[in-house]
Symmetry: C2
């Protein structure tokens, strides 16, 4: 045998990590502790030009001190970084590009920084790798986007580097595992360094440095919706959803997106849902952040389990006191975990339901606008038909049975289909139409030079749209023409709806592809706020028996 | 506000766990250690009738001592268990049903026990929940299939219950996190109890009891293929795959299924792949167990990274010495993790390629046979188009661009498509045909009363089939008729192939939907074993510079 193996080092990453650790050694005090005042020097010692760097930023928990610190490094020493991180929320996440410290970006969601990303792209200050769903990005951490250095956030640490992430575990395990086991460097900012942790969430062996940050990490009450702001139109759509979808299919396991539409549904379960006799038959198992608007349904005994992506401000005491429902550790506090919650949200639930900004006549929906590169977080992962699913449920089988192109696409095999539901308004605030002939995503793709239009949910994955006009059961359609007609039929007076052919709409109503509130037997006169189990935040506090502690901005009593 | 909340306990699971711990207290020695001789008593103390119980059994690592122990409990005390576990490999996994200890089963893969499951189903000894892919089952651990008691396996433990799982971490983190944070009980069998672990993989806070088992846990060399058994036909298919798919699409990130077909490809990279100038252009990032047949490609500098589901017997020293390629911990040994590898395999790679037993004229493929309930492990999760994917790559975009029904299904949106490739032989051993008019999965669904046929890969997910006759580029087909004709065109003298219309086959060759070895410019006379970079296991050992230590049954020199 002629042996052609090459001669090279096979542990260069390990040696490089050791060299970086040697440069950082002067800043390390007891155990793995580094002083906040030495944070800039630490980053300059362990980060090299061109490194892939992750700053933990997820829906809520932000490694904000380390983000600020990275902005203060000398761009002469640290530059051309490739940021691989799920969420860009803080100004500092973009400042590193302005300062020439970072160059390339791979991410999932950018919220408030979306406009600046688009601007930087145009100005050539930032090179965009791709926009991902959360789980997809975690996957790439183990393939071709492994961070060389991870800057993460935890609640507490001990001096050995063991971390307590508890209620806000979020992305931390996925980031740390990928980084540390590929010989990378993990730096944690923590709110507090203690002698003994309530429990260990991340073993100290996986963490290189711990810094007590001057202030606790930033966290946002992203999932709190004040019931006082729910409209009658949202109540109507909620009633249609419960009767025409939840009840119709027997949806037991599901995820609710963020927003007032799904908050309305949550607050209708103990009233309208109860009246329809659906308790125990729907909504028993959720994948969900701890939404305060879930409290009445939980207290009324609707819910068996909730696994959480992350936490929600003010809900920690309530969640800890409901350990039969939430995933709570031996120490008594919750453990969230976005990777497992998204896995469950992709594969183990029967329905995803959430709001959108725009839907086109093909059923593609998106929250993208022409000049904001925002991403969709976890929505595409939950709002799609997971083709690798092989377990059945009543809801999944029924939706598959109804699929209009099943013979053409599937042949003789029996399969099911995930329910993917979008709640839309024909017109939103400032008369922005909910239905458009072309999604803004097309303009954005052109403006930002993206290879694919940033569509949140694809038309062939979308099974139902609910507007105040009715429900379109899109998956029943037998071709694209029928799908388009069904969408036009519930799109009201938007440009899309105006092209509806009334005869075709009637035909689709006869076929059960479109159902109005009337068709569903819903008494419109009852569709108002009086149906809600809680009318305001104070009601939620009462339902929680005082365990829910809303942030100041939601306390108006 | 009228408050309708119910009055109930909200921490019944926690109280119940405490009561079970109290019953188990007499058997606990120092820290969390229980003697092997008390194992039966421990299980009788902590398991209650009707519990959901997980026995860790995955592709390789088996909690075999605890599986045997569970068979020895008194069925009068412990019965009607609902087993939720990914793999059933050991006889004991089925014995618990025979003995009346367990009743219901949710699983992913059953390999050698597949026939007995089918038998037990018929006899009413076992009630089947569903067959899942691995990642799907882990998702349900966090929704509606959370284990009450988990019986897991680790390499080492300390007396505080901290675990070292190292090379064979596999499913452990997913099982333990779901169980322990829903107030469940975690029992670990370990090969050794030590004072200090090489590193902590699972924190002791998450583990209740540790038992040193009389023998190290059972592990099988599942991914080892002796190059001496690779056939010339497999070499031909491998050359077609490399030229007609890997090179054609520029596949950089991928997974190889188990089997001689993909082992052939691995051994052709340093020879035929090199000759085609593809080094650095294909096969840089893998999701893969540490296949010994990957050694020549790794040593020749083809591979940048490999993340592993689990380990492979004899490969630990080689992997530890290649920390630039594999995910290796600070202690120097690998950490595998099936949950993250499957996540990456679903979302972060461009191609899945593997073998199958049967393909039908619709493109559905399956390894199911009429009287064996076997499941597919991770294949459906990787062998499907992940609809939640939002990042692009050259390969993914090209495959989407070629998709024959894209206008009909997608409308005007640009999208990509995962490559899903099946390697098939028109006739296997004993003349079993690789193409059939109806999959055995249909008979199995009827026999075992399954709601859906256990299809491994669905026709609409499958993009390419390779046989010795040629490659069918199925995704290019514009309708089911064309797809069927393309399949018949490469199905040789099987019943499916005999129905091919030669004119239609020629037309499809003109369209590039079918390509023969000739069409691909492959010199058939070179398609033989001399092309392989290693001809036998000894060659692999030489390539590895003695670091690969094959199990005895593969040492024939």
């Amino acid at each position: 045998m002629e042996l052609k193996g090459i001669t090279r080092e096979w542990d260069s990453l390990k040696k490089d990590a050791a060299a970086r650790a040697a440069s950082a050694a002067p800043y390390v005090k007891e155990g793995k502790i580094v002083d906040a005042k030495d944070a800039v020097a630490l980053l300059e010692a362990v980060i090299k030009p061109g490194d892939k760097v992750n700053i933990e930023g997820n829906n809520q928990k932000q490694a904000d001190f380390l983000a600020k610190t990275l902005c203060q490094v000398d761009p002469g020493k640290v530059h051309d970084l490739h940021m691989v991180q799920s969420v860009l929320t803080l100004p500092e996440h973009l400042d590193v590009f302005e300062k020439g410290i970072a160059k390339k970006l791979d991410m999932s969601f950018s919220g408030p920084q979306a406009g600046r990303i688009a601007e930087f792209l145009k100005e050539g200050k930032l090179e965009l790798g791709a926009i991902h769903t959360y789980l997809e990005l975690y996957g790439r951490y183990f393939v071709d986007l492994t961070p060389r250095v991870a800057l993460i956030a935890a609640t507490k640490a001990d001096r050995h580097g063991n971390l307590f992430t508890g209620f806000s575990t979020e992305d931390t395990p996925a980031i740390v595992e990928a980084t540390k086991f590929r010989q990378g460097i993990v730096i944690a900012q923590v709110n507090e360094i203690v002698d003994e942790l309530p429990r260990v969430d991340i073993p100290g062996d996986w963490v290189d440095y711990v810094i007590q940050s001057p202030k606790p990490f930033y966290i946002e009450p992203l999932f709190t919706r004040d019931p006082a702001l729910i409209t009658d139109a949202q109540v109507l759509k909620g009633m249609m959803a419960i009767k025409g979808i939840y009840g119709e299919y027997g949806i037991k396991s599901l995820n609710h997106g963020i927003g007032f539409d799904t908050a309305a549904i949550e607050l209708l379960l103990p009233t309208y849902g109860e009246e329809l006799g659906l308790k125990g038959k729907i909504c028993t198992n959720f994948i969900l952040n701890p939404h305060p608007s879930m409290i009445p349904a939980i207290e009324s005994g609707w819910v068996e389990s909730i696994h959480c992506f992350g936490g929600e401000l003010g809900m920690d005491e309530y969640v800890a006191a409901r350990s039969d429902i939430f995933f709570v550790g031996p120490d008594g506090s919750m453990r969230s975990n976005r990777a497992f919650s998204q896995t469950a949200g992709h594969y183990a639930i029967d329905m995803f339901i959430g709001g959108t900004l725009q839907i086109d006549p093909y059923g593609n929906s998106s929250t993208a606008t022409a000049n904001r590169v925002a991403g969709f977080g976890g929505a595409p992962n939950m709002g799609c038909d997971p083709k690798g699913r092989r377990h059945s449920s009543e809801a999944w089988l029924k939706c598959g049975e109804e699929y209009g192109v099943k013979e053409a696409m599937w042949g003789p095999v029996h399969r099911g289909k995930r329910l993917v539901v979008q709640l839309a308004e024909t017109f939103r605030e400032k008369l922005a139409p909910g239905f458009v002939e072309e999604l803004d995503a097309f303009a954005l793709a052109k403006n930002a030079n993206l290879p694919i239009e940033p569509v949140m949910i694809y038309g062939d994955d979308l099974t139902h749209i609910i507007t105040e006009e009715g429900i379109a059961y899109l998956h029943k359609c037998r071709n694209m023409e029928e799908r388009t007609a069904a969408i036009r039929g519930i799109a009201g007076f938007t440009e899309v709806g105006m092209k509806a052919d009334p005869k075709e709409t009637l035909r689709l109503r006869d076929l059960g592809v479109i159902k109005t509130a009337d068709d569903l037997g819903i008494d419109m006169s009852r569709a108002n706020r009086s149906m809600l189990a809680a009318k305001n935040v104070h009601d939620l506090v009462v339902w929680s028996k005082g365990l829910y502690n809303p942030p100041a901005k939601f306390r108006n009593w």
